[in-house]
Amino acid sequence: MNRIDQLFQTKKKNILSIYFPAGYPHLNDTNSTLELLQKKGVDLVEIGIPFSDPLADGPVIQTAAKRALDNGMSLKLLFQQLENARGNIAMPLILMGYWNTVYKYGVDHFLADCRKSGVDGVILPDLPVEEYEEDYKAKFELAGIYNILLVTPQTTRERLMQIEKSAKGFLYMVSSLATTGGILHYDSKREEYFKKVSQLDIPSLIGFGIHNKESFQHASRFANGAIIGTAFIKALQAGNSEKFLNGLR
């Protein structure tokens, strides 16, 4: 069974997912960061494949991606790092990146390497569900790699139903902010949107704008858990990632 399904079957609430860019702050930090996350009881990890023009990311993640690229990080190297890591790491692993990286790598090659290195899913924010269904869905399903789909407050009901049909694992519920790294505000409209999505048959996590224990717990009331990215990267940068994780639970 895919590790993502395993997680959502055994745990329904307060699922903590952490995002960090591969090869950041130093090229070989990917594995030590994974070990730290596992030690601290993080449930799910999203590893960013650095790209120079990340349309959905704010300045903090952009800058981190740039640093990782300058460090020499690449998708190929990431697969090598992960192959070494999987022995000690039991958490589900998801790669997050932009479509051109995967397209250029070759979709078949990419899926084969995901399997080999123990990757469970991917998040590709600029691959719309229509393109995915038409050209790639069958391949992903054959490989057993989950394509985690995003929904946003802009997603219409019609589209939400289409997304639900193709979705695997869980839905990534974008809180509201257009790019990563802002602060999330709640109002009745937003809560209505969260409720609409969480009533679907598939689990969901809230991401974008979650930055500390309080915002994590608050978001978790509306979904199975939440995703923290920018705030964790800031902690990595400041060298206090362990303390940051301790403060979340």
Binding site: F51, S52, D53, L55, A56, G58, Q62, T63, K66, L69, S74, L75, K76, Y98, W99, N100, T101, V102, Y103, K104, Y105, P125, D126, L127, P128, V129, E130, E131, L149, L150, V151, T152, P153, Q154, T155, T156, R159, V174, L177, A178, T179
Partner: protein, 403 residues
């Protein structure tokens, strides 16, 4: 091609053959669909068409003339004609799509126009359109281009636009697009991204083409009226490809007309020194669409260079990508040095200072004229060079000086 060309390409998903489409985060999809629907309903209305026609005539000063270059033709051979988009209001073809996009934005009830700019021509044109319609305007521009194209920065500010400096990466056009996209994502409901060329996700490449077709429609008639025939060769520079598509689109059915797109070869065709996307790129996805793309084996866009800021982009319009594969247009490249020579040549032979972007097209036309002295050539002189004069003289000196 058939008369159905414009209905066939793009298809309803925004594809020009294998290129184009819409590779964008989900939060933009609904808004892109809204823009697409608005485009089809509003821009085909009688009211919209007559308002845009009136703007073209009274505000932009269209039609722009076609001009025969007497001295240049005598010197190089051939018969060289220019479509004078430098005489379009604001000094470049960019205003053609900006007025169209801004008019659509007004009908849609948008409050603010956002865009990137390279040379500053698109930024100035959009700031002008915003002032005309009373809309807010925010232009993202790389710091390198801000320094190089200073007069255009001042023009945008005088027109009331906010110029946002972009300081990441190479600080040029690609980064300006990144930055403008992100600003747009913050509020896609009240703002509209008026992209500067026939690039970006569907429906932009189609919309910008439709608003630029006026160039080709005018030029074909004017040329025929002047000469009683059609030109043997049609030449335009290609950054994203808007001025080129504007002109080419009227001649796609005329098999006797050869179409030439001219890309920047920069300092050389070595990686990082040029932006000759169609000559050396491979299919990829950037800024929400599929096209030929200069990229490394990891799919990272390559660094690019051109003396012309408006051509300095690692991607290219999806329609050009298709026209290349269909062998409908030939794509060539011109170096920085050839561009500068043509810049001075046109200035001194005809009294027309061309934009550095347009000087690429002129440079290629001069080569064609020399090689084919019996043929006629229609060049899109996409813009005037006032914005470039300080840069050219500082970097290259005047002809014959020792710089």
């Amino acid at each position: 091609m058939t008369t159905n060309y414009f209905k066939t390409y793009p298809d309803e998903k925004g594809y020009f053959g294998n290129f184009g489409g819409s590779f964008i985060p989900d939060e933009l999809i609904k808004e892109m669909n809204n823009i697409n629907d608005a485009y089809y309903s509003i821009s085909k209305s009688h009211e919209f068409i007559s308002e845009l026609r009136s703007i073209r005539k009274h505000f932009q000063g269209r039609p722009t003339p076609v001009y025969y270059c007497n001295r240049l033709s005598n010197k190089y051979g051939g018969r060289i004609y220019l479509k004078r988009e430098d005489l379009n209001h604001t000094g470049a073809h960019k205003l053609n799509h900006c007025m169209g996009e801004a008019l659509l934005a007004k009908y849609m009830g948008k409050k603010k126009l956002i865009a990137e700019t390279g040379a500053g021509q698109h930024g100035v044109a959009l700031a002008t359109a915003a002032a005309y319609f009373g809309l807010e305007c925010e232009i993202h521009m790389g710091e390198v281009d801000i320094a190089k194209e200073h007069p255009n920065v001042i023009r945008m500010q005088i027109l009331g636009a906010k110029v946002v400096p972009v300081s990441h990466g190479l600080k040029t056009l690609k980064e300006a697009v990144d930055s403008a996209f992100q600003a747009y994502l913050q509020d896609p409901i009240n703002t509209i991204y008026c992209i500067g060329s026939v690039v970006g996700p569907h429906p932009f490449p189609m919309m910008v083409r439709e608003f630029q077709r006026v160039v080709g429609i005018e030029a074909r008639d004017q040329y025929q009226e002047m000469t009683g025939e059609l030109p043997d060769n049609i030449v335009a520079c290609v950054g994203g490809g808007s001025n080129a598509i504007g002109l080419f689109s009227a001649f796609l059915d005329d098999n006797e007309c050869k179409l030439h797109g001219v890309e920047p070869a920069g300092r050389s065709l070595n990686k990082g020194e040029h932006a000759a996307t169609l000559s050396l790129g491979k299919p990829g996805v950037i800024h929400g669409f599929k096209c030929y793309l200069l990229q490394n084996e990891q799919g990272e866009p390559d660094p690019v260079h051109s003396v012309a800021s408006g051509l300095d982009y690692p991607g290219v319009g999806p329609e050009h990508s298709m026209l290349k594969d269909l062998n409908k247009v030939e794509y060539h490249s011109i170096t920085d040095k050839e561009c500068i020579d043509a810049f001075y040549e046109l200035s001194r032979s005809e009294g027309i200072i061309p934009a550095l972007e347009s000087a690429h097209a002129v440079a290629y036309a001069l080569k064609l004229a020399k090689a084919n002295p019996k043929q006629s050539i229609l060049v899109n002189l996409s813009g005037r060079g006032d914005k470039d004069i300080d840069f050219v003289v500082d970097e290259y000196g005047l002809p014959g000086s020792s710089k």
